[in-house]
């Protein structure tokens, strides 16, 4: 996948500090067009900080992030316009707005109404459940449906790279399976490039093509996901047991 191709999203040497704490230390990560890349790690390892640094919602102390070779702008709204959307940790759907309004706000950077409708049809094809519930308030959806809405909302901006922060958080295993199956569809049907951070390491490794392991703010390992799934260190530390 990576012979001479240039990465679509590239994180180079990025550090983020919260006061005296280094939440992210010189992180390097590449995502190539069309692939699913996972970042796995424990609670507080810096996964969400990495996402926030890409989205511009935390200031980075050093380093550069590029999309297709161009440095990303500093502010969140500009990052979205540049082509990166996030489905945030804890879903963060707009509870008092309807499903339809949630999707419309996701399309905020799009100028043409025809683009919005086209994107909406794509999202409804992936998540028919959202179309059935489009008039319902987002706050009345189940957790799994809210996660679908958060992903659909992020897709509405017509991103080039989709970021997913802990899509399995707080969901029942059967719902997690469903969500991850749909993510594969997002990747296949739309050719969407996905960067996902997950605590559920097994699910993330099974979904992704390549993966990075993050530990106390530093990236410690990287490789093809199927290799990492069988790596004794990973199995021991993240997959809950010996093989």
């Amino acid at each position: 996948m990576s012979e001479i191709k240039k990465p679509l999203l590239s994180v180079k040497n990025v550090s983020v500090n919260y006061g005296a704490i280094n939440a992210l230390k010189n992180a390097n990560l590449d995502v190539y067009a069309g692939e699913i890349v996972a970042v796995i790690g424990a609670n507080g390892a810096g996964k969400s900080t990495l996402m926030n640094a890409i989205m511009g919602s935390v200031p980075r102390a050093e380093g550069e992030i590029t999309l297709d070779g161009t440095p990303l702008p500093a502010k969140s709204f500009q990052v979205v316009s540049a082509g990166i959307s996030l489905s945030p940790e804890g879903r963060k759907v707009f509870a008092p707005l309807t499903v339809l309004e949630n999707l419309e706000i996701g399309a905020f950077p799009l100028k043409k109404q025809s683009d919005v409708e086209e994107q909406m049809q794509k999202v409804f094809r992936l998540f028919p459940r959202l179309e059935e519930r489009k008039a319902q308030y987002a706050g009345t959806l189940s957790g799994g449906e809210q996660q679908m809405l958060a992903i659909g909302r992020a897709l509405m901006a017509k991103p080039r790279v989709l970021l997913l922060d802990e899509p399995s958080l707080g969901l029942a295993p059967i719902i997690i399976n469903e969500i991850f199956k749909e993510l594969t569809e997002v990747n296949h049907q739309l050719g969407m490039t996905i960067l996902i951070v997950e605590q559920n390491a097994k699910k993330a490794l099974m979904l992704s093509h390549r993966a990075y392991v993050i530990q106390t703010g530093a990236i410690t390992m990287e490789g093809a996901s199927k290799d990492l799934l069988n790596d004794p260190v990973i199995v021991e530390a993240y997959l809950g047991g010996k093989k």
């Binding site: 919602s57 945030p88 707009f94 008092p96 996701g106 905020f108 959806l141 707080g170």
Partner: protein, 294 residues
């Protein structure tokens, strides 16, 4: 019966003007989660712009009112940029903005005191105040009917703006979660400026009517801010329908108290209502109830 009807119409009229102030105040609260005590300053700015355009420039009321609305809207944006933006960019603690807003309220008030003096000024008689017969059920003044109608027009326009436009949707989303709205590609600083502009503009509409009702003076803003605050709390802070309903309740209570008890009891009733609300239903009539599943 005649007095009752008359006081009800007067109460609704006063309440609807309060609503113009309270809605802007609640709108700012819903986005930035602090009570903007400088809000009354915007209505005073609007009132004085209107006064001087009428007195010194000889403008028609339409032009004077238009200038007042735009002027108050712009000054609200300027206050936000000067006093609140530097704070909200540095800390998530909204208490500092509340304190800054108290400071800005004093600043605006005293700019008028030192430049044009603190005396009471009556707007030239541009808004008709003659008595009118209200469908034979009551006698009221043209002014009361006009302020009621104007307030309703502006509130409906606000509702249309919020429900039908792209920025309106963004404002409703931001009222639930400002940061997440930013992640949707919404320019948060521009959104906040729009909100302050709208709030200042609505305050100026109220300011013009209130300066006809009470005459215009620099401290008018502080008095009305308190009323708008009480109305917003009764309705549920941050809820726009709540602010409107709270304001109408307040206007009615004031006018009925003035008509049937004594006009000296008006403020007592106002604060009595505030206390009862805080004891019985602290979230107000329309307090937020829909939750997010985590």
């Amino acid at each position: 019966m005649d007095t009752l009807m008359q006081q009800v119409i007067n109460g609704l009229s006063l309440g609807s003007v309060y609503a113009l102030i309270a809605v802007g105040y609640s709108l700012v609260y819903s986005i930035l989660l602090f009570s903007n005590f400088a809000h009354g300053g915007f209505l005073v700015i609007g009132g004085y712009i209107c006064y001087f355009m009428l007195r010194n420039m000889g403008s028609s009321i339409w032009i004077a009112a238009f200038a007042a609305l735009i002027g108050a809207g712009v000054s609200a944006v300027v206050v936000e940029r000067l006093a609140y933006k530097p704070i909200r960019e540095r800390t998530p603690v909204t208490l500092y903005m509340l304190i800054a807003s108290m400071g800005m309220s004093i600043v605006i008030e005293n700019i008028f005191v030192v430049t044009i003096g603190g005396r009471f000024r009556a707007l030239p008689p541009v808004i008709p105040t003659q008595p009118v017969d209200f469908f034979g059920i009551a006698t009221t003044s043209a002014f009361d009917l006009l302020s009621l109608v104007t307030a309703v027009v502006f509130l409906v326009a606000l509702q249309l703006f919020l429900s039908k436009t792209k920025w309106g949707l963004a404002i409703r989303a931001a009222a639930y979660n400002l940061k997440t709205a930013g992640l949707m590609g919404v320019n948060v600083n521009r959104l906040i400026s729009i909100v302050f502009f709208v709030a200042g503009l609505l305050a100026a509409v109220g300011g013009i009517f209130l300066s006809v009702r009470y005459t215009l003076y620099p401290q008018l803003g502080a008095m009305i801010t308190t009323k708008a605050f009480v109305a917003a709390v009764i309705g549920g802070l941050g809820s726009l329908p709540g602010a409107v309903v709270g304001s109408l309740i307040l206007g009615l209570a004031e006018m009925l108290a003035a008509g049937f008890i004594s006009s000296q009891f008006r403020d007592l009733i106002v604060f009595g209502l505030l206390i009862i609300t805080l004891i019985v239903r602290p979230t107000g009539l329309f307090g937020k109830s829909v939750g997010e599943k985590v």
